[in-house]
Point group: C2
Chain length 342, copies 2
């Protein structure tokens, strides 16, 4: 009889997470009550926001409690339905977290159509990261034809979609990524106009050269050195949707050195820059448009995606630790159990 393996938050990280911040546990298989279903996790999504949930601080979502199951988006198969909302064998996307099984009453689950696309895309290009890129770029970035859009983490789950949607909207798309391999992929496979390696010594000069008409939209996933290089390049009326800040998630104390805040504020005032933070659920009203547009673009091959797959839930902690260092290449998916559709 199978058990339910879980990854728990063992303690709050001190800066960058380490293996000891996580704990692998095992419980008995939960039993669905009437109206409930037993879900078996097939794929677990790992995403940068998870680092924030490991901290105790107030944020847009409650922290994971110490000893609690790590949160995360999942694609699952309905193993058993006790009169539940979905039938046995159905594929659903939801938030089962870092565990093999979960009992659910079906609230906040959505059915996934295996005929439309590989079911793992419900965690990537057709799921939360795709919707994040689509809604943040279109609602807050408001791209106009001919404008220049810069996006950091350009080979990542969100950034890859930001640049491809920007191209579809007639913009110049300039990516920033770590290392020549990712940069080549972003240009050659994803079709960005340029991609600059933020590890290069002359990164700032390369970025400026790749944006000869300045920057109209900077889609912020990263902060740190990339943001500092972007500040001098803003055009009048530039927009900066802020989606993530991966370069500072592990920061314990504010860094010492040059205070860049006055530089950003000067750009805000001089260029009427608009900076706006968001989370994907703020734009739930765009879900229908997203599903229609992105589904079509993926089917047409206009939007491509790359998955970084790792087998085994026991490898999720090390994979998240690596993701926060930029060691992944594409959307990170943990293969938790057999995919019944493959």
């Amino acid at each position: 009889m199978p058990h339910n393996r879980q990854v728990l938050l063992a303690r709050r990280p001190n800066g960058a997470p380490v293996a000891e911040d996580f704990e692998l546990a095992q419980t008995d298989l939960p039993e669905p009550a009437s109206g409930e279903m037993l879900l078996r996790t097939v794929y677990l999504s790992l995403d940068p926001y998870m680092r924030g949930r490991m901290n105790a601080e107030k944020s847009y979502a409650d922290p994971v409690p110490v000893g609690g199951v790590m949160e995360g988006g999942t694609v699952s198969v309905v193993e058993k339905s006790n009169g539940g909302k979905f039938a046995e064998g159905d594929i659903v996307v939801g938030r089962a977290g870092w565990q093999d099984y979960m009992v659910s009453d079906g609230v906040s689950l959505s059915k996934v159509d295996p005929a439309a696309a590989p079911i793992s895309t419900a965690l990537g290009v057709l799921g939360m990261p795709g919707m994040t890129a689509y809604s943040g770029l279109l609602r807050l970035g408001k791209p106009k034809e001919g404008e220049t859009v810069v996006v950091a983490a350009a080979s990542g789950a969100v950034g890859a979609n930001v640049g491809q949607i920007a191209k579809i909207k007639g913009c110049r798309a300039v990516g920033v990524a770590g290392g020549p391999e990712k940069c080549a992929f972003v240009v050659d496979e994803l079709g960005f106009d340029a991609c600059i390696d933020h590890q290069a010594d002359d990164f700032e000069a390369q970025l400026a050269a790749a944006c000869p008409d300045g920057i109209d939209i900077y889609f912020e996933n990263v902060a740190g050195r990339v943001l500092e290089a972007v500040i001098p390049l803003f055009n009048f009326w530039a927009r900066m949707p802020v989606c993530g800040l991966i370069a500072q998630y592990n920061m314990q104390d504010l860094p010492q050195g040059t205070n860049m805040l006055p530089a950003l504020m000067r750009a805000v005032l001089t260029y009427r820059l608009r900076i706006e933070g968001f989370i994907v659920r703020d734009f739930a009203d765009m879900r229908g448009d997203f599903q229609r547009d992105m589904g079509q673009w993926v089917r047409d091959g206009r939007v491509k995606y790359k998955e970084h797959r790792v087998a085994g839930m026991e490898n999720a902690p090390a994979t998240l630790i690596g993701l926060l260092k930029g060691e992944n290449f594409g959307k990170v998916i943990i293969e938790v159990s057999d995919d019944p559709t493959r």
Copy 2:
């Protein structure tokens, strides 16, 4: 026969302006051609934005050229009309700059009604600073009843109006000003709920105590220490219209020390803070509403104003130097020549 005294930009300042950056010059009285008028400057407005025009850098307006007349808003009387748009004796508001006389074809001049309010208010509460406060707070701040609005430089030309309009809109208005005298005025005369002295050692703690429900709108006139104190207090969905940055206008190099940029970015992401720079002319469509509302509020005594008057155009350089150090108390007006309405 009178001459035309002018204050020229003698050279670009190196940090804080000094007297030697200005030069008093004298020219012959200009003669209006057909369709033109000779204007005599009665009042000259001094405002913080003037510091930016003294620099060579690209901004939202062209710099004053070295050797050029310093720019500025003025209330003038039409001394002579050679078939011009306004009649002799009319009072007009425009941008004659730091000089006694100007010839104008009437474009970009507006007539001022001396019966409605003292004519100097066309440079203050009923002019550019009032319109800046009104449009920035209402259009970008979007105040809702019960929200907390914080404004720095709260006894100044813009800040005083921001807080008073916030009160009219049912908000809690918290000012920040330099020194106990200004703070007392802001609370006792202008009717703010609180005003904190940014020179106090425990300024940050006092500000937090004055905002028990957090900050929904921070109207930015200042930056520097005030902005840094505001960052931890933002509520979800807070707004930050950026109107001015007086604390950093004289900055030559970015300061060394703690880099506060990651702190601001974290607030942007966590609280979905929206930061937006603006200049008053962006909201020209609100002029009619402003004139109607603000005119009414001033007549009703719901909006009060305080002028800091200095006689003599020769004192304008020293007065601007002082304004940039916060030495003024109220809207700075230079009395250039006799006010024919008094």
